[in-house]
Symmetry: C2
Subunit: 371 residues, 2 copies
């Protein structure tokens, strides 16, 4: 199976590019934002709702699905696409990040990680081979190498961790059996340019169908994130997609695209929705705020999403205050629509050669880097 | 405004009838089942989802909306139809039932009821005039008289309560100002045929556009419910719709139709969904049950709802076990579809003169009355 990445346009004023990645479940256009379906469901969204919004790629989490309902069960039920009724492209992460961020306790050795489930405290072990086996059972179109996501600013630890992650990358590649899944590498190295560069070169030598940049959006500053992208992106092969993991703040998406990133995923739109917040250009509306109590306007006058076409801020506030499920549904719809529209606008601007103007206008609503 | 009730067919073998009730927001066909949107939202359902399922009438609760967000606010925002973006017919109850079932404490006098909010314990007072004023602010197409819903089997109390409820009925009628809302009476009288008959006659004399039968589905047996309908329905005018409040068990809907009921409402389909249960002919599937863990079949093979067309029982079980919002959404869709399809099948059978056969077959899946 060939996972072709077509480069359709290259921005003249930045490293941004327009592309199309082909998978066994159809192509997706890049730059792309993938909503996250942690437990095989993008929270409060039906697959048909995602489809209506123009979702092209969905991410799901290996760690969560391994623990519940189990990857072998999903395999026996026909794989993740059938299980969650999403017939488009799916990407699964490796489980590494969640083992380090969610499990109750964990112990890393050179061979893998032993950890306790956040659900019931039961003991489990992930190795590179196990992560690939789980991801092959799940059957996503794009799967990720098992990596460690270390604290980004401890040089000695990051260097040691990186050597381990590279060994694990080779083991993942060796363990991979299915040829209908694209295995992406993950560049680590914390905030250290030399380590990031070393990681990019090491993984490039493995000639993978795509490359992720991991370990960002975990506490470093936006300037550190931007600096890391400036180091890594030029070292990655131009003819392979570049994926910035776990990043979904609108300004980060635009800056990421300018630096040469093609793919993003983040729980932000659905998580904000569950907290009662709506994404708008330049910020958020917290619908718990009393100022919206009698506000008959939609969230955003010019927004074409189902929520903004039908409901007032006052109604959304009522739903959020009353803890009604429809509040989650409508805010999730708006927030995912907001990010997908941003990506679509970015692609349109790239097609027209107008990305610089678009990005400058959009970023004028956000604080500049370094502040 | 004329609330015309057209009688389109009368079953030859039972008191069942086919009809159409016209409201300022369009007609609905009877027998009808109305999903309940307690807080101005049918839980976990968008208005477009309800529309897709063929929902013709939605009920909302005066007590809840008065407390939060407030009926005056809803009036100022254009009324309940605009607020919840439901452009079809809406019915609001009087608040009476919730005052007696939900409030922390309550004190009834001849003039009205003083009660404490279940939300914050604050003190409030409903009178017949207040209930009508709230319902006029909400602006539903059908509004209900403020009544007391007493314990059904205490004769002395029910008799005293009934006299009060009848006085309140006259006061509601006198208080009513808007002519674009139909005010329905509510027949009370507990399980006592004489009191029920007295109530039916009293309210019939008021020449109202519709009549509800209240105080059922509150603990009496199914046989007592059936006996009450046998007493009341023949005493109500044939050319007005009859509404059995708060009843939604499938066998009760069929028996209610056979006895001459035209309208029903109930939280059952959405409440069962939130508890992880799917309605099927003859019973329920509890999706928490381990037997569905690896079950690749849909809830019901022959069901055409979105849930059954796309998802396995195993996936629904996973969602319920994982407490995912999509589980509520998909089970609510199925359960509302189940009841609306039942009502549609009943209307089809009435049109063809085949209701007896349909009802006999359907009821063969349920325990007979008296058992």
């Amino acid at each position: 199976m060939d996972f072709k990445f077509e480069l359709l346009a290259q921005d003249s004023a930045s490293a941004a590019r327009l592309g199309r990645f082909h998978t066994p479940h159809g192509p997706f256009d890049t730059p792309v934002f993938a909503p996250v379906g942690t437990q095989a469901t993008v929270k409060a969204m039906r697959p048909s709702d995602l489809c209506d919004l123009g979702t092209e790629l969905v991410l799901s989490n290996t760690y969560h699905l391994y623990l519940r309902p189990g990857d072998e069960l999903i395999r026996d039920l026909g794989g993740l696409h059938t299980f969650m009724a999403w017939d488009g492209p799916i990407l699964t992460d490796s489980g590494g990040f969640q083992v380090f961020s969610l499990s109750q306790s964990r112990k890393i050795d050179q061979d893998g990680v032993t950890f306790q489930s956040h659900l019931d405290g039961s003991a489990h072990r992930f190795t590179p081979e196990k992560s690939i086996a789980i991801q092959e059972n799940l059957g996503a179109d794009i799967i990720m190498m098992f990596d460690e996501c270390p604290p980004p600013d401890d040089f000695d630890y990051v260097r040691e961790s990186l050597a381990r992650t590279h060994t694990w990358a080779e083991r993942c590649l060796a363990a991979k059996g299915r040829d209908d899944q694209a295995l992406f590498g993950i560049v680590q190295g914390g905030i250290f340019p030399d380590l990031r560069a070393e990681s990019a070169r090491f993984l490039t030598d493995l000639d993978l169908p795509g490359y992720a940049i991991g370990g960002l959006a975990v506490g470093e500053t936006k300037t550190q994130m931007a600096d890391t992208l400036e180091v890594v992106n030029p070292l990655l092969p131009a003819n392979k997609p570049r994926y910035l993991m776990g990043v979904g703040a609108p300004e980060d998406l635009v800056r990421g695209v300018l630096s040469g990133i093609d793919m993003f995923d983040c729980v932000l739109p659905t998580r904000l929705a569950r907290h009662g917040s709506a994404m708008i250009v330049g910020g958020r509306l917290n619908m718990r705020n009393a100022r919206y109590e009698a506000d008959s306007a939609p969230l955003v006058e010019t927004c074409g999403c189902y929520t903004c076409r039908h409901f007032s801020r006052a109604y959304l506030r009522h739903l959020v205050k009353s803890n009604e499920i429809l509040g989650h549904m409508l805010l999730s719809t708006h927030n995912i629509h907001f990010l997908l529209t941003l990506m679509s606008d970015i692609r349109k601007a790239l097609r027209k050669g107008e990305l610089s103007q678009f990005a400058a206008e959009f970023l004028s609503h956000y604080p500049p880097l370094g502040n």
